[in-house]
């Protein structure tokens, strides 16, 4: 009887243990296999898709714009737990983010918001310090990419900037936004009680795709020289602004493009929208005498004149349609001399040799009055009225660069056309676009826009333009030791309501090097320089400096033997 009782007890204990085990097993199965949709265990994390980089023409050695992974730190004053000292947290935050401690402390007392931005940091160390829950409370962080421009202001007007939403707001950043922008990735999983992802429960993992890289035709070394020179000339002559373009004549590729004043793309909001504007293609101005080369080229192409055709410019004043036109040249001069000395009357008389429609068609053939289609936003068309709307005076003024408004880009492209035997190329500044996987998305091909003049005409004009930089020419300050230079000065009065300003001018010089076999062309334009205001005095020396540096950098062989004992290798002042 006693034995039976003991046996029963053992069975009972075994049964209880078995039941307990069954309960544990059931719970285990429930936890592991059950669908706990109501339990907040979902874990979702967006992975940063960084924006593509922008490089200059030197392969991927010199990025001009990169995206960096960073964190936006924010403060929730109401989330600060009891027992934490706000002062010590402020001190830690201020040290980690390089902020003023009192400013941070003041933010802790702002109780009207639960999201107060503290600052952005790319440092992992700052993140580890500020996420230490033993010392810090109420501070959070969210990942975001920031756009960085390693060379600061370099190429600012070409690169543009990226706004707070990560969208390109100007320049290449805007035009190629759809290629540059990255695609964020996603992780969907479950998290444990410590809010850490359970890797084995990961459902979705879509890796981020960075944006494509854009390679420019611009060279940061040439750009550096250009920007330094432009800054110097604008500051020296107290000018309002200036712009410079350097272009390869054979392909139309832009080697450098600068406007001054410039801005820091990373802090673009610190400057006004006026400063963001790329003056080289957005400022429309009357070009003045630099238009005369186009007039002469058109007249030569029409067989209206030859370089030796003589034109009587009188005593320096010529009345036409009741309006006087002044000149500093007198007597009877050849077309070649007219260009060298920049004679207004001679070029105006050449303009009168055309039928207005024909002159207009030549100007349109040089692409004046229309966009050239460069890959930058904000390119202006310029102003070229239809010939049927011209007054009697207009055919005498347009040939000398009045009554027509152009952009710097149109002007340099016209000179590059003359330098390229009359073949007009489309200017471009994006060489290629490469996807993150190395696939070539886009490669630029030089594109012929037209042939406004015959090759022999272009060569004849080039020869005449060499005279401009020689002794007696208006552009002798544009000479470069060792190289032949062809170019033209331009001093244009600034158009103001009701006429022209007597004090404000555009001083320009545009030319190409070496003049006999041109490799590149350069345009320098400065708005309202003072006290000197002529293109020959203000812009020609800047041209010489830029051309000398560019020729050396591009290793263009000198084509001029030294003729005098000149110890200075640099361009003349």
């Amino acid at each position: 009887m006693q034995e039976r009782g003991e046996e029963m007890r053992i069975w009972l204990i075994a049964a209880l243990l078995f039941l307990a085990l069954c309960g544990l097993a059931a719970k285990l199965a429930y936890l592991h296999l059950g669908n706990h949709s109501k339990v907040k265990r979902e874990y979702t994390r967006e992975l940063l898709g960084l924006r593509g980089r922008i490089f200059d023409c030197n392969s991927d050695q010199f990025p001009m714009a990169v995206s960096l992974p960073a964190r936006q730190f924010f403060l929730d004053p109401q989330a600060v737990k009891k027992g934490y000292d706000v002062r010590s947290i402020s001190k830690i935050v201020a040290e980690a983010l390089n902020l003023d401690e009192n400013d941070v402390l003041a933010k802790f007392h702002q109780t009207d918001s639960r999201y107060i931005k503290l600052g952005i940091s790319t440092s992992d160390q700052a993140f580890s310090v500020l996420s230490d829950l033993k010392r810090v409370s109420g501070v959070g962080a969210e990942e975001l990419p920031i756009r960085s421009y390693p060379q600061g202001r370099r190429m600012s007007h070409v690169l543009g900037f990226v706004n707070n939403l990560g969208v390109g707001g100007a320049g290449v950043e805007q035009t190629f936004n759809r290629y540059l922008k990255g695609t964020p990735g996603l992780i969907t999983s479950e998290m444990d009680a410590g809010r850490i992802e359970i890797w084995s429960r990961r459902k979705v993992h879509v890796p981020p795709i960075p944006g494509s890289d854009v390679y420019l035709t611009l060279d940061h070394n040439i750009q550096y020289e250009v920007e330094q020179t432009l800054k110097d000339v604008v500051e020296k002559f107290q000018a309002v602004r200036g712009w410079v373009i350097v272009q390869r004549v054979k392909t139309g590729a832009i080697l450098a493009m600068a406007s001054y004043p410039d801005f820091e793309p990373e802090h673009y909001t610190e400057e006004s929208g006026d400063i963001w504007r790329n003056n080289a293609l957005a400022v429309v101005y009357e070009p003045g005498s630099i238009m005369k080369s186009v007039t002469v080229a058109s007249a030569l192409n029409e067989h209206l004149v030859t370089p030796n055709t003589m034109i009587d410019v009188g005593e320096g004043t010529w009345f036409y349609a009741g309006k006087p036109l002044h000149d500093h040249v007198t007597g009877c001069i050849s077309v070649s001399t007219a260009l060298k000395k920049s004679s207004n009357i001679a070029c105006a008389k050449i303009g009168l040799m055309f039928k207005p429609q024909r002159l207009e068609s030549y100007l349109r053939a040089f692409n004046f009055g229309d966009q050239l289609g460069i890959e930058l936003p904000g390119e202006e068309k310029g102003i070229l009225a239809r010939s049927k709307d011209w007054s009697k005076l207009t055919p005498t003024r347009v040939p000398i660069g009045q009554g027509i408004a152009v952009t710097g880009l149109q002007m340099i492209n016209a000179y590059s056309t003359l330098a390229n035997d009359g073949v007009m190329m489309r200017p471009y500044l994006v060489e290629k676009i490469v996807s993150p996987s190395g696939e070539l998305v886009f490669r630029a091909q030089p594109e012929v826009l037209g042939r406004p003049v015959r090759p022999e005409v272009a060569r004849a004009v080039r020869e005449m333009l060499i005279g401009v930089t020689e002794e007696g020419g208006t552009g002798k300050r544009a000479t470069v030791a060792g190289y032949s230079v062809g170019g033209k000065t331009g001093t244009a009065q600034k158009a103001v309501p009701g006429g022209y300003s007597s004090t404000d001018y555009y001083a320009s010089f545009v030319g190409f090097v070496p003049a006999h076999e041109p490799v590149f062309s350069v345009l320098v334009s400065v708005e309202r320089p003072r006290p000197q205001h002529t293109g020959g005095f203000v812009s020609a020396p800047a041209f010489a400096k830029i051309a000398a540096a560019t020729a050396r950098y591009l290793e263009v062989p000198p084509d001029q033997p030294v003729e005098q004992d000149d110890d200075s290798g640099d361009a003349q002042p």
Binding site: E3, E7, L68, Q151, P561
Partner: protein
């Protein structure tokens, strides 16, 4: 003798098939538990490696950006100036271009200047000798 012998309790244990089933269930549960914990552990390691990789990748991007900031033309110029160095591109008269045969191409500024100086030197030497 028989009275002194310790009384032996004879208990009937589980039947062997039932015990076998229990052992099997427990073994499967333990195996499942072991493998789950092992895979969870591996998952955590993978997750940590992923995080470390992402952090290192981010660090690489930032370091590259820092290096790129340091090698801008003006910073290189400034750094060299601190050491009393000033580098500029050579002037045309400092450059001698050679042809395919390794001879200087005629007409270059440097060559012309060199020849002129050499001729002048020879003239001076001759006049001194005379």
């Amino acid at each position: 003798m028989r009275r002194n012998r310790k009384k032996q309790v004879r208990v009937k244990f589980l039947p062997v098939p039932a015990a076998g089933v229990i052992v099997l269930i427990v073994s499967v549960a333990l195996s499942y538990w072991f493998m789950d914990s092992k895979s969870g552990q591996l998952g955590q390691e993978i997750r940590k490696c992923e995080q470390k990789y992402a952090a290192l990748e981010n660090e690489r991007v930032r370091e590259e950006a820092r290096w790129n900031e340091k090698k801008t033309p003006e910073k290189l110029e400034r750094a060299m100036l601190q050491h009393g160095l000033l580098m500029t591109y050579p002037t045309p008269e400092q450059v001698v271009r050679m042809d395919e045969n390794g001879r200087p191409i005629a007409g270059q500024i440097a060559v012309v200047k060199f020849q002129r100086n050499r001729n002048a030197g020879e003239r001076v030497a001759k006049s001194v000798q005379q």
